[in-house]
Symmetry: C2
Subunit: 370 residues, 2 copies
Amino acid sequence: MSGEQDMVPETRVLAIASHVAYGFVGNTMATYVMQSLGCEVAGINTVHFSNHTGYRQVKGTKTSAQEIRNLYQGLSQSYLTDFDVLLSGYAPSAAAVEAVGDIAEDLKRRAESKPGSFFWVLDPVMGDLGRLYVSEDVVPAYKKAIRHADLILPNQFEAEVLSGVKISTVADITAAITAIHATYSIPHVIVTSVQLSRLGSSTPASTLTIIGSTIRSDGTPRLFSVDVPALNCNFNGTGDMFAALMVARLREAVFSASSSSSSIEQLKSTRSWVSPDDVAPTDLPLATATEKVLSSMHYVLERTMEARTAELAAAEAEAGAEADTGETDEQRQFRKHLRETKAGEVRLIRNVHALRNPKVIFRAREWPSS
Amino acid sequence: MSGEQDMVPETRVLAIASHVAYGFVGNTMATYVMQSLGCEVAGINTVHFSNHTGYRQVKGTKTSAQEIRNLYQGLSQSYLTDFDVLLSGYAPSAAAVEAVGDIAEDLKRRAESKPGSFFWVLDPVMGDLGRLYVSEDVVPAYKKAIRHADLILPNQFEAEVLSGVKISTVADITAAITAIHATYSIPHVIVTSVQLSRLGSSTPASTLTIIGSTIRSDGTPRLFSVDVPALNCNFNGTGDMFAALMVARLREAVFSASSSSSSIEQLKSTRSWVSPDDVAPTDLPLATATEKVLSSMHYVLERTMEARTAELAAAEAEAGAEADTGETDEQRQFRKHLRETKAGEVRLIRNVHALRNPKVIFRAREWPSS
């Protein structure tokens, strides 16, 4: 019983993101996801909150940029920085983004003599649905820091902010990714969850599309997409889940012994794991990793939907049986919101098998380059 | 593929203990251990350190008592306090111990109408080997707080501090546990790792003994012991590992559907899960849980020893190949200490199967009551 058959190759990750006591977002999500796939995870927490902000009320503290630097210095002074991957998510200020950027630069510098031995996955958490939810000075801080990133995971809005391309048509997505490759020399980009039907495509409104690309040697994008059915629920932490699964599955795609063709063998020691130009978009490690990641996520989120429905039905029955609580309508509405948010917490723990052994049900397709 | 066959019954835990970025102690250990067995864990971190103190240098911050209270208030205001178990470990001040005590009281009060629905496992972290490593005012804070605990996990020194009994003979252990039951009305006690050979017993020096007890209705102890072979390595975080596994295995012993005899059925709704007087010491849920806990731990720690040896051999070879580094002897010694401490970090992640499916190799025996 070695028990390691479900695990990705050994991977040491430094994860810098938020921490919540209750529920699953940020590092609280990412740490468990990566650990359950076999990764060693060191976590620097950028906030210490009671719960995620989807509840609309939260208590706790933010970590200062100096505290983030200080924790990293603590690792450094005891020779605890032999990381294979940096995964960075929410940082609560421009100074914190800079601190994360400096940590990434230091880790890159240490790995310089061994190409492929260090990789930075950066989720440029800035906003969503046309709106920034960080202060404005965070944007230029990210634009500077991402030049050292190997893979970035913007949502549609963040891709617009970084590329300067307003995404109004399907072709704009291609233009935005092309611009991100070119402007920041970022080798891998994935734009998470785009609703193509809103961009004039005939794709059903119930479909979400994930579009990724690994750069070619001439700087052009090598694009693929994966469609998934949208679930009718406002989950929190799914971006963090995507990023964490991606770390593990990308390492697996590049380092797994089963991928023993010689081009894969070379890929391990290629800077940023950029595949040779003759590798087709759908054969990219990034594409095969995305297929597994989305398959795991869909299973877990479907189970979450079911559990949410059952939990809310039980709660409603209980609330109905309660005597008049003297609450105002507004209070009752807010309590309902809290109940629904709690019921929507991702059901990670009891569905861990689907993280470890996903049944791959989604497939990457080539996405037009122009 | 339900995947839940290796998991304990659903358990929601609030875990209050320290957090380290690198390695496994405190909540960093306990959270993953409990999650891997199927528990939902909400974590309030009492310190945010780069690494554990065994490295002899650490950076980071401590959480104030007010911040601990504040995080709990955050959970409270959003109705996120439906915990089955509180697991509390290191608290960095007397005020923090009081804050944890107040949180426990609040959770107990909420569960009052449903006996058995809430249980507090308290690790009274104060010192070891005859020496306090917390400030002196933490001791009276613990003496006050533990009156609400259901199970406490002192080491030999902490058992002395709490009981007022100096443990010089084997019989003194019994006296100390009897005093803890009587003085604080604590239903369950486990004294973790005693070296009986130092107390005049003929037990080999290479054996560690764990002694536990569940109180009888007349206040007398119901004692059992489990012997394990000592491993020749100074591990960190093993107390936290023990506590976390105990939470999961005790819940399993009390709540598992497979234990479907009617006395077990009643136990679930008995305050503090205290078994009827006719249950023998070795048949206690506490005893069967301890057997599983120690079997998991022994496997993981043996694998850790092996990995440590291999890692150090590789590091020595590399260090030998290095050019003269210009270090002083003292610097070289300290670097060796850091290397050894890092190599001794518990290998949790890749041995998770032994947490989930331990082969039970240790058995509880009755321990004399006088």
